[in-house]
Amino acid sequence: MSDRILEVEDLSVTLERGGKEITPVQNVSVSLGRGEALGIAGESGCGKSLTLKSIIGLLPPGAIVGGDLRFALDREEPISYESADVHGHGIAIIFQEPMTALNPTMRVGDLIAEGPKIHHGLDRREARERAIELMRLVGIPSPEKRARMWPHQLSGGLRQRVMIAAALSTEPKLLLCDEPTTALDVSIQDQILGLLQELRTRLDMSIIFVSHDLAVIGELCDRIAIMYAGQVVEKGPVDEVFADPKHPYTEALMHSVPSFQQTTEKLEGIEGAPPDPGSFPDGCRFAPRCRYVRDDCATASYALVQIGERRETGCIHPELLEGIGS
């Protein structure tokens, strides 16, 4: 018996681009407990979405996955799996843009009913009833009427709820969320986050939530992993990481977001741009943009170091950080 549901060890993803091999995800190790919510944060191109897609096996053709992925459906030790084993049996995913992720030629009720039909062997009527039940669960008003509508007839918020209902239709134990609220308005984002939080407690489901928005992750998740240039640079409980970041990138990210709770004097931002996966710098990948950079950073090899009880950092000089608000 184990309370771990997912273990990702030393994951790497290699793709071919323009005749050249690139490795946009490297040495990623994360684990997830039952009922836990993990946030993966980072900017575009940092490999957060690819990490998520390798877990459920939705990588583009030709991608080579290295490392070990282990998943436990029931309360047993997580074991290595093939992605086909978990489709519809334990892991489901929701995407950023519900309009492109939903099949425009299927009524939303049929779309949600597909999972129960294929994976649970329900007949058409039972599956339709199940779909309406799921739509009610995710808070879609008048589900009987809406089940007969097409995706284009629904608003962005309802479409996202439909996608969540479809993901839940096979009763997953782990829900992967790929920036599901980025395309939504704040008031709708707020509703969806409330819904995810509710579903998580009600269905005892684990969540991995990928986003570029630290505050959104903070509202939903227990633990956070910050990614930069294909690597995890910091891990730890959300509150502790935000209160006292142990990696310069985390600190810089927090300094670059304006807060509406207080007037900030001047935002700092980060000089330069994130590196391209084809040309990651040697040593610490954040070093060229880091304000604390030292000589040995250029040759430092990547390793996450335990710091404190539940924290890990990829920085070799965490003692240099001045802390938030300095």
Binding site: G194, R202, H255, S256, L267
Partner: protein, 324 residues
């Protein structure tokens, strides 16, 4: 004294669906009112933020002021002179816009230099032999290396492209700069430098800035005053400090409650605003926020509240504004 930029009773409507089909059926031709009777003024050198959710008409308002969509009724005037439907080259120059997505608003086949030089030449901003020098100055202004003048948009990063977008708007030496979601498409670490640049340019060049965004935090960072829009209406118009300290309109309060905050965990099933905005084609009677408003009473259903208050820049459109 007249205000610098004056928007009076501005309404913009769009025709939706087929007029012929509607007439054949004997229905009235459907009109979508994107901006409904909005009045406000902006002082010279002021930075005004306009915030609201998608479909509230904030971008249409920006486009109407720039002259990119025709105004249905009402007037826009700048420095006492009208900004009408047909604008001369000289008046067009005075209001410029920075768009949301720099990758689709720059011509992919033109180098940065050509993009800028063309404007300088057509609008005769500087004599021909000074064009090269002026391009270089513009690059300095937006803090880009001059070597990028020869680059095409695809070889620039998102932040660099947006700086080119700003340089392009500034090339015409405008009085008013309108930034429509200018940082929404950028990564967080790149957003901050662009916001700082806009703040700095405004000070250096004495620009009047209208900053349009869905993001309260961004608006708070760059604006002196904020107008909150909901479904084509302005619902609150106040100084940034006052608005964030004591929002009066229930919609503003709800927006602030909905924005994600550090150090606050979401409770299961909790949300600040229930429901979704109604369709702009089928508006509720009275106050537009009524169906979602926690304070709504009978009067809200019958009377649409005016945007009014103690002064021009201290207005709220609510029957029961929060007094704090």
């Amino acid at each position: 004294m007249t205000a610098f930029l004056e928007i009076k009773d501005l309404t913009v409507t769009f025709r939706v669906g087929s007029a012929i089909a509607a007439r054949l059926k004997g229905d009235p031709v459907p009109d979508l009112v994107a901006v409904d009777d909005i009045t406000f003024t902006v002082d010279r050198g002021e930075s005004l933020g306009i915030v609201g959710e998608s479909g509230c008409g904030k971008s249409t308002l920006a486009r109407a002021i720039t002259g990119l969509v025709p105004v249905t009724s009402g007037s826009i005037s700048l420095d006492g002179g009208p900004l009408g439907k047909r604008r001369s080259k000289a008046t067009r120059r005075r209001v410029q816009m920075v768009f949301q997505d720099p990758s689709s608003s720059l011509n992919p086949s033109m180098t940065v230099e050509r993009t800028l030089a063309e404007l300088l030449r057509v609008h005769k901003i500087v004599p021909r032999d000074r064009i090269d020098a002026r391009c270089a100055e513009l690059m300095d202004l937006v803090e880009l290396p001059k070597s990028l003048l020869k680059a095409r948009p695809r070889s620039l990063s998102g932040g660099q492209r947006q700086r080119v977008g700003i340089a392009r708007a500034l090339a015409l030496e405008p009085d008013v700069l309108i930034a429509d979601e200018a940082v929404a498409a950028l990564d967080v670490s790149v957003q901050a430098p662009v916001l700082n640049l806009l703040n700095q340019l405004r000070e250096e060049l004495g620009l009047t800035v209208m900053f349009i965004s869905h993001d309260l935090a961004v608006v708070r960072y760059v604006s002196d005053r904020v107008i909150v829009m909901y479904l084509g209406n302005a619902v609150e118009d106040r100084s940034t400090v006052d608005l964030f300290e004591s929002p009066r309109h229930p919609y503003t309060r709800a927006l602030m409650a909905a924005a994600p905050k550090f150090g606050v965990k979401k409770a299961p099933g909790e949300s600040a605003i229930k429901g979704e905005p109604p369709s702009a084609l089928d508006l509720p009677s009275g106050c537009r926020f009524r169906p979602r408003c926690p304070l709504a009473e009978e009067i809200c259903e019958q009377v649409e509240p005016d945007l009014s208050g103690a002064s021009e820049t201290e207005r709220t459109a609510c029957h029961f504004p929060w007094e704090g």
